[in-house]
Amino acid sequence: MLEFMEGSHAVAEIVKRCRPQVIAAYPITPQTHIVEDLAQMVANCELDAEYITVESEFSALSACLGASAAGSRVYSATTSQGLALMFEVCFNVAGMRQPIVMTIANRSLGAPLSIWNDQQDSISLRDSGWLQFYAEDNQEAVDLHMIAYKVCEDHDILLPAFVCFDGFILSHTYEPVALPGQEEVDAYLPAFTPYQRLDAEKPLSFGMYATPEYYTEFRYETDRALYRAKESFIKAGREFGEQFGRDYSALVEGYRLEDADTALVAMGSICGTAKDAIDEMRDAGKKVGLLKIRTYRPFPGPEIADALSGVSTVAVLDKNISLGGGGAVGTEVKAALYGSGAAVYDYIIALGGRDVRKRDVAAVVDLAEKGKGDMFYGLRTEVL
């Protein structure tokens, strides 16, 4: 049954139903509504969890790490500067293989400070070892939280995950969402069984350091676990589809790609606008499609290459910029398509809340088809 609600509220509701035992989060726009809702649920005895009102994001994730290592299912949420402040802890959590799920209400990163949306924050943590899933709409955001816990806690995986949804654009938008009920969630997501935990009955030392004899192998093991997460995601997504009727068994998803000459590649909410734009372009006779990346980490390189095999021009919409190095997704898509023969162009777009309209998507397609790309799209040259 669909319900009409704010994206943040929908996320909070599903998180509640995933039954985290410890929540530690620090407020930051536009993530706040989620953690405020959770705080209220705990205060109302609707959610039986410890809610730690930490003094910073650094402590938020550190507390999550401790709680996870001690054997609890944990949850956090952040964005932008908050995620940036967690950077060191994020690498640590992944290396320590703690299955923490954290919502990222994507927002740009300063300077200049901006509370508005792009995906710089999570993308700039792409090396950290966290799984990264991007939602196109609030329904997907809700569903990905359940899948994320399932994948992360899989004893073959044991990794943390970001569930990314675009700040404001999704988090502050009211739209219809189907919220699985508690029993349904319980049926899908079993209670947390830690693989190993801090326990006086069975002492273990966690987070030892690794000499050159061992370090490479630990990193390799973590990297392998990320790649194994592909299978785990597909399985969890298929099971999700079987139970809830919404299938997430694909790491990437094509839209009207079958006979497309030109493909857009994008992540998150911009995919919705792109789809509408594509419908219009299709109506105008243009063979255009979209490839949506759902799992940015592990990066689905072969899956992208496969999905785009028939396409001659690829335009990547990058809501981030690796300063002095181009858009991150564009770069990785090029590497994935290396040797394919398709022309690939990268567009830095929608930074810091710059709105994207259907006509902007069409303009990007035009540019790509004209062979112009690897550029910022939509600059207000009048202020430069």
């Binding site: 669909l2 009409f4 704010e6 536009p30 509370i115 508005w116 949306n117 196109e136 709409d137 675009d166 404001f168 654009i169 502050h172 938008t173 009211y174 739209e175 219809p176 909410s269 911009i270 995919c271 919705g272 606008t273 789809k275 509408d276 809340g353 709105d355 994207v356 309209r357 259907k358």
Partner: protein, 167 residues
């Protein structure tokens, strides 16, 4: 919940897909703000702001003049303006129909506070025909409880009937 969200909610209750979102910003209490609504029979995927609205609601008439509240409106559009003075001056685009309603007074009378969301919702429903009275009432009763629900429904209905007479 803003008027935008209430309207979208009512549209959703009436069986449409709906989307509502504010113009994301850092505005402090007192500063002028905007919000957007879409509704449609199909799932709404578009995420951009609304640049060419079919309808607009102006909650604070003092903005007219300072801001071009009718920007982007096309012929056939409908504007609902909360004002005590139905004879306000503004450059309305051609073909746009303007309904003036003193929502503040209605709200004060019905709810005791100058919060005009629900009143304007009633006016919107009547002016545009996009929302029927029943889902509107349903939405309000879902949102408010007890006597607050009754009061808000009454405020919306008063506006509905006022504008309904004008339509």
């Amino acid at each position: 919940m803003t008027a935008a969200e209430l309207i979208a909610f009512a549209a959703f209750e009436g069986g449409a897909y709906a989307q509502a979102f504010p113009a994301f910003g850092v505005e402090r209490r007192g500063a002028p703000v905007q919000a957007f609504v879409r509704f449609s029979d199909a799932k709404i995927r578009l995420r951009s702001q609304v640049y060419e609205p079919d309808y607009i609601i102006v909650q604070d008439p003092t903005l007219i003049g300072d801001v071009d509240v009718f920007m982007g409106m096309k012929a056939g559009g409908i504007a609902i303006v909360n004002t005590e003075k139905p004879d306000f001056e503004a450059s309305v685009p051609e073909g746009v129909k303007v309904y003036a309603i003193d929502a503040t007074t209605i709200a004060l009378e019905e709810l005791g506070v100058p919060i005009t969301n629900t009143t304007l919702m009633g006016a919107f429903a009547a002016a545009t025909g996009e929302i029927q009275l029943e889902p509107l009432e349903h939405a309000l009763r879902n949102r408010f409880s007890g006597s607050m629900a009754d009061k808000n429904v009454r405020a919306a209905e008063r506006a509905y009937n006022l504008i309904g007479g004008a339509v």
